[in-house]
């Protein structure tokens, strides 16, 4: 009974923490070996090795996106200067005097949109640079990445607003030119780097999932 419970926990861990495409086959193999008389110690050694191997593999896969995010986010001051010049010229005079809730649109549009455009441009450039996987680019994948980056950016914006608040949250803070540079690591904006990383991670996991499904489809047709 105890052994069954232990194996169930181990199987669940292999299924969820190995980050691989073949984790179901792997957990099945480990169960088969247990049935043929392997010890619980052997089983747990295998589970731990599989999780560690999967984790290392995932980290290796994330190295390039992480480096790219850092490099791209370091370009933000340049983009910020450029967008500030363009947007300040473009703000219609009447918009700044609007009453609530319309007044909230101005800081959102002029604060979040340039940052989001910077992140999405970074995502698009990354996709174009990955020539080998360019054929996998689809509208669904672009939308998925854009959505993930938007979610991370909105969450970090909320956290930054909490950080800046005195007595109440002031949406006007979004209009600060250095709003997204508040949390930085040697001029690299952390919220923007995380937002871009969110898009790239969702892209990687979706690509892997599709490759996995592709294999299963191939099997079924065979």
């Amino acid at each position: 009974m105890k052994s069954t419970r232990v194996v169930a926990v181990g199987t669940w861990m292999v299924d969820h923490f190995t980050f691989g495409l073949t984790n179901q086959a792997l957990s099945g193999d480990l169960l088969e070996e247990m049935e043929s008389g392997r010890s619980a110690a052997w089983y747990w050694r295998q589970v731990c090795t599989a999780i560690a191997t999967g984790l290392l593999k995932r980290l290796r896969e994330l190295t390039l996106p992480l480096i790219y995010c850092v490099v791209w986010a370091s370009l933000y001051p340049l983009w910020n200067r450029l967008s500030t010049v363009v947007l300040v010229r473009a703000v219609p005079a009447g918009l700044t005097d609007l009453a609530w809730p319309k007044s909230a649109l101005v800081p959102i549009c002029y604060g979040i949109v340039p940052a989001l455009a910077f992140v999405w441009l970074g995502f698009l450039v990354y996709e174009l640079l990955r020539i080998r996987t360019l054929h996998e680019l689809s509208a669904q994948r672009v939308l998925w990445g854009a959505s993930a980056s938007l979610n991370v950016l909105l969450l970090s914006t909320q956290l930054l607003l909490w950080h800046f608040r005195q007595s109440r949250i002031d949406l006007g803070s979004l209009m600060r030119p250095n709003f997204y540079s508040a949390f930085h690591l040697s001029s690299i904006s952390i919220p923007l780097a995380l937002s871009l990383l969110g898009a790239l991670i969702s892209r990687t996991s979706r690509t892997q999932r599709r490759r996995g499904h592709g294999r299963q489809d191939g099997l079924q047709s065979a």
Binding site: T11, T18, G20, L21, T22, Q24, A25, L26, S27, G28, D29, L30, L31, E32, E33, E35, R45, Q46, T49, A50, I51, A52, T53, G54, K57, R211, R215, Q216, G218, L219, A222
Partner: protein, 136 residues
């Protein structure tokens, strides 16, 4: 005189760079197999059809004379499949495997080609060793 030197320098630079690109192209076209990958491909061929994780890991453990973890084998199999050197198909789920299907592996034509190239290079290297050199 200075202009000629400059042209000569640019020409040499271009030549060196094109040589570099040729090396990179060669590396891309001939991605030689690693030791573990080579062992896995040969073991799959040796075991023939119906080879899946359990017999593969057992055979590798027997050949290497030490335990080979299933996680390491699957990580390498995953890599080989992404490179197109092996292909896999799912079998039927069975109760002794907790309702999980076996994944059967076979070497693709590209995998066989890669094996042949690796063998050619390794054989050439062994033969190129100076006479009298003993590797204990």
């Amino acid at each position: 005189m200075a202009l000629r030197q400059e042209i000569s320098f640019i020409f040499r630079l271009m030549l060196r760079n094109s040589y570099l690109f040729a090396i990179l192209k060669e590396m891309r076209e001939h991605a030689y197999l690693g030791e573990f990958e080579l062992m896995i491909l040969l073991t799959i061929i040796r075991l023939g059809d119906e080879v899946y994780g359990v017999p593969l890991a057992r055979e590798l453990s027997a050949i290497r004379g030490g335990e080979v973890s299933a996680g390491t084998v699957y990580a390498a199999l995953d890599r080989l499949e992404l490179k197109g050197l092996i292909a896999s198909t799912l079998g039927d789920p069975s109760p002794e495997r907790g309702g999980r299907a076996k994944r059967y592996f076979c070497v693709t034509e590209q995998g066989l080609k890669s094996l042949r190239e690796t063998r050619k290079v390794l054989t050439k290297l062994w033969k190129s060793l100076p006479a009298g050199v003993e590797i204990a």
